[in-house]
């Protein structure tokens, strides 16, 4: 035995004597993970989170989260001798007088934008492929929690520098707090330690931003990943892939090298963006004061939809019995987002109620094979996109020479009209794609070769597709509509009542499918040709 081997086995033995890790590792180092590009989206989110922890820690070494007033005397001349908060001054210090400080700030901000984008993309992947179905509902709920907290964490993060733009964002958050019926004024005064802006808000959100929320993130991400590990990853349908197996590469060495390498790639790309693409140049905005503002005030992209909803809200307030309720704030700022996120969290349970499907699913859906769900996703995305467009209405207006009023009315009407249209169109596209699949399986693929038959007719030669492809296109389950007990024609009242009727109606719409082609049909057609 060589010296190297002796030392290695010595160390391994020492650790195993105390932990018994060998047995667990032996089993798990060869754990199989399926491979698909779309499985990288969640990975990007995870790696961005690690980048956020690293770059964020760097920033804390210089950042002073205090609203104490100081006079700036750093190397950025345009703000020399200007009175500002210590948090703004220390952000300037990091940007101009710490070598690599600006780079780290940019990396941190870029990583936050990428983190949120990756979470949203991952969420969409999980939604459209049905990866949230039994047994993965818990992980869906954790994911909804993570995206919600991500929005809050991002908002708190870009609020910390206390520049004119971020201070305006805090002012808006304060107005939302203040608008909450009965307790609003109290909540605002407790959060801000008195009247807005006060001197305690930045230090307080700093603690939440660097300690409380990252701690919750770490815990939730850990559970999220442990569940993925324990339940084994879902896989796309295909030859040899079943509900009972998982086909892919072992953790060691392939997956470790690929995933580990991918972390460095994500970090590298983020560093590149941080180096060359400057975002949030806080030194141009100046320190926050409530009496000033910069034109084109924009939140980060993941807040844009919320701001867009607030912007398009109708100007309604109720004044009654000496009290005021601001629907123009509550509706777009709290009620609508609350309904959207609750609906998102409950979706797996709603879908299983509609389909009556209580089985485990480890094979992913091709989105076209579940037209209703795909259409619902497209509808929600459209809703968000229209809100987002209105969140940037001032920028769009100046860039494309449109009027803000025009964009506002377009989105106000569009928000109600366009999503249902998107639903219908998407559903039709899905059914058409199913029809195309059916055509492809039964008649083969077009070869582009034209043949003239003896009697003069021209036909295009179709080539049968492979058995693998035929299986992939036909393997999916096609749910049937649920029947509600108690038929109407007997005059017997439906025991399931209105709820049952609604369920049956949705279930029927949900079951609208183009029948998947079968081998029997294929053989019949083949027989006909010969």
């Amino acid at each position: 035995m060589s010296a190297k081997n002796r030392i290695a086995s010595g160390v391994a033995g020492y650790v195993d004597d105390r932990t018994g890790a060998a047995k667990w590792l032996k089993k798990n180092l060869t754990k199989v993970f399926p491979d698909h590009w779309s499985f990288m989206l969640g990975e990007i989110a995870l790696y961005s989170f690690i980048i956020l922890l690293l770059s964020g820690t760097f920033l804390t070494f210089w950042f002073d989260p205090s609203q104490r007033e100081v006079i700036y005397n750093g190397s950025y001349a345009p703000l020399s001798h200007v009175t500002m908060s210590a948090s703004y001054a220390s952000t300037l210090h990091i940007s101009f007088d710490v070598r690599g400080g600006l780079l780290m700030r940019q990396i941190h901000h870029w990583a936050a934008l990428i983190f949120m984008a990756a979470i949203v993309a991952h969420l969409l992947r999980v939604f459209f492929t049905g990866a949230f179905r039994k047994p993965r509902e818990f992980n869906w709920l954790i994911g909804v929690g993570l995206v919600t907290l991500g929005i809050v964490e991002g908002f708190l993060g870009y609020s910390l520098p206390d520049d004119l733009l971020s201070g305006t964002g805090i002012r808006i958050a304060e107005a939302i707090l203040q608008a909450i019926p009965v307790v609003g004024s109290y909540l605002s005064f407790f959060a801000f330690g008195g009247a807005f802006p006060g001197h305690v808000f930045i230090p307080r959100i700093y603690t939440v931003h660097v300690l409380l929320l990252p701690g919750i993130f770490l815990a939730l991400i850990t559970i999220h990943l442990m569940l993925v590990w324990y339940q084994k990853h879902t896989q796309y349908p295909g030859p040899g892939r079943t509900e009972q197996n998982v086909v892919g590469y072992p953790l060691m060495p392939v997956y470790m090298a690929k995933a580990g390498g991918f972390f460095f790639i994500v970090f590298g790309v983020t560093a590149f963006l941080g180096g060359v693409a400057s975002i949030n140049p806080i030194w141009l905005y100046g320190p926050y004061t409530p009496g000033q503002i910069s034109a084109g005030s924009q939140p980060d992209w993941y807040m844009g939809w919320l701001d867009g909803l607030v912007r398009m809200s109708p100007p309604i307030e109720t004044h009654a019995f000496g009290h005021t309720i601001s629907w123009n704030i509550l509706l777009p700022g709290l009620i609508l987002p609350g309904i959207l996120f609750t609906g998102m969290a409950l979706y797996p349970f709603i879908e299983s109620w509609i389909t009556g499907d209580k089985r485990e699913h480890h094979l992913l859906d091709r989105p076209r094979n579940v037209p209703n769900r795909t259409a619902l996703g497209a509808m929600s995305l459209t809703f968000m996109m229209i809100s987002l467009i209105n969140g940037g209405n001032d920028i769009i207006a100046t860039h494309f020479h449109l009027t803000i009023n025009g964009i506002m009315w377009f989105t106000r009407i569009g928000l109600i009209v366009v999503p249902p249209i998107a639903f219908v169109i998407t559903k039709r596209i899905c059914l058409s794609l199913q029809r195309a699949d059916r055509e492809l399986v039964l008649h083969g693929k077009e070869t582009g070769r034209l043949v003239m038959l003896p009697h003069g007719e021209f036909v295009e030669v179709h080539e049968p597709i492979s058995a693998q492809k035929a299986w992939t296109l036909t393997q999916h389950l096609q749910p049937e509509a649920l029947m509600v007990e108690g038929a109407d024609e007997n005059g017997v009242r439906n025991p399931a009542g209105l709820k049952g009727k609604i369920r049956a109606r949705i279930s029927k719409a949900n079951a609208e499918q183009v029948a998947a082609p079968t081998l029997t049909e294929f053989k019949e057609l083949e027989g006909g040709h010969h």
């Binding site: 754990k31 199989v32 070598r99 690599g100 600006l102 940019q106 808006i172 107005a175 203040q178 608008a179 009965v182 407790f190 008195g194 009247a195 807005f196 802006p197 006060g198 339940q231 030859p239 040899g240 079943t242 197996n245 060495p253 392939v254 090298a257 390498g261 460095f264 790639i265 994500v266 970090f267 590298g268 560093a271 590149f272 941080g274 180096g275 400057s278 926050y288 004061t289 409530p290 009496g291 503002i293 034109a295 005030s297 398009m312 100007p315 309604i316 004044h319 009290h323 005021t324 601001s326 123009n328 704030i329 803000i404 009023n405 693998q468 299986w471 393997q475 079968t518 081998l519 029997t520």
Partner: protein, 330 residues
């Protein structure tokens, strides 16, 4: 159809196709070299990072197309760091893709649920443990425990009380009072009607009692915008007209929607626009909301001049300024 339609059958995993590097030692050697080059590029990136940290002056700016004026050190640090990280990643992935085994492995899944006997055993165990603890019989313990656990949730609420003072009437009041002088911001000078030309705008703050320092909290509710129009431009009630002075009208600058500074004045249309949510107010009609989500006009401050000819407030604001809140009565 009575006879069952036969479905397509799963042909099983396709035969594995080997890569060139699996059989050809030359291709494998080439792949090894490619991986090594990628790792070397990473090392070059790190050297670049160290070099730019030490040798490039931190205040040196260069002009680059698209990027504009760029701090050279930050740029090189970023590009160096990006290279050092990116190429380690590319090297590892390339290694995995070309040289590590690419044979797909099949593992079996098992249903998540436990075996039925494990479930029953679990329920039995819980029941036994509960019986050992006498939970079923000792209702006094159960109820008192429930009470104390319920009450314990109150303590954080109590302990968080000192986060801030009670609002009292702070949201409803400002520092404007009868006779308060309008001071320019910035500048802190009293202002005369002749200082404002027709069509111009100025931000003013109230003169505070001597010895009081102006805080951001004061500015957050006191900021006022002065706009001078020709007196015939106004379409105001006689009362509101009497609140103006020689065509000068004063509004709270804090948006009645969400409290942003309403800072954009369009001279042609005489509209005030809030850059946050685009609420638009018509100055000639007492800041009536003509567009956007704001539900109330900006509060108007009644102004006049004092004996020395300086602009002063006739009276405090007659309604709270800024965004709405529960206790607000109108």
């Amino acid at each position: 159809m009575s006879n069952e339609l036969q479905k397509f059958t799963d042909p099983g995993l396709p035969a594995h196709v080997h890569r060139k590097a699996d059989s050809d030692p030359k291709a494998a050697k080439a792949a090894e070299k490619q991986v090594a080059i990628l790792f070397l590029l990473s090392a070059i990136g790190t050297v670049m990072l160290i070099g730019s940290y030490i040798f490039v002056k931190s205040n040196k700016f260069i002009y680059l197309p698209i990027l504009g004026d760029t701090n050279l050190q930050q740029l090189l640090l970023g590009v160096g760091m990006a290279m050092s990280l990116f190429f380690i990643g590319m090297g590892a992935v390339h290694w995995a893709k070309t040289l590590m085994s690419d044979t797909e492995v099949i593992a079996q899944r098992h249903e998540m649920r436990s075996e039925p006997e494990d479930r029953t055993d679990f329920v039995e165990t819980v029941k036994e443990q509960a019986a050992l603890a006498n939970l079923g019989r000792r209702t006094l313990i159960k109820r008192s425990l429930g009470l104390s656990l319920g009450l314990i949730g109150l303590s954080p609420l109590i302990l968080l009380r000192d986060l801030g003072p009670l609002p009292k009437n702070q949201l409803a009041t400002t520092d404007w009072a009868k006779g308060t002088r309008l001071l320019t911001d910035p500048g802190d000078r009293p202002i005369k009607p002749s200082d404002l030309e027709v069509g111009s705008v100025a931000q003013v703050l109230p003169a505070l009692p001597t010895g009081t320092e102006r805080t951001l909290e004061n500015i957050g509710k006191d900021a006022v915008l002065l706009i001078r129009l020709r007196p015939e431009d106004f379409q105001l009630s006689p009362e509101r007209l009497s609140w103006t002075h020689e065509g000068i009208i004063a509004f709270s600058k804090i948006c009645s929607h969400m409290g942003c500074a309403v800072a954009l004045y369009e001279q042609q249309t005489k509209h005030l626009l809030c850059p946050c949510h685009q609420s638009t107010f018509d100055v000639t009609r007492a800041a009536k909301v003509i567009f956007g989500p704001a539900a109330r006009p900006l509060p108007q401050l009644a102004i006049t001049v004092d004996a020395e000819g300086y602009l002063v407030a006739q009276q405090p604001f007659t309604e709270p300024v800024g965004p709405s809140f529960w206790e607000r009565s109108s």
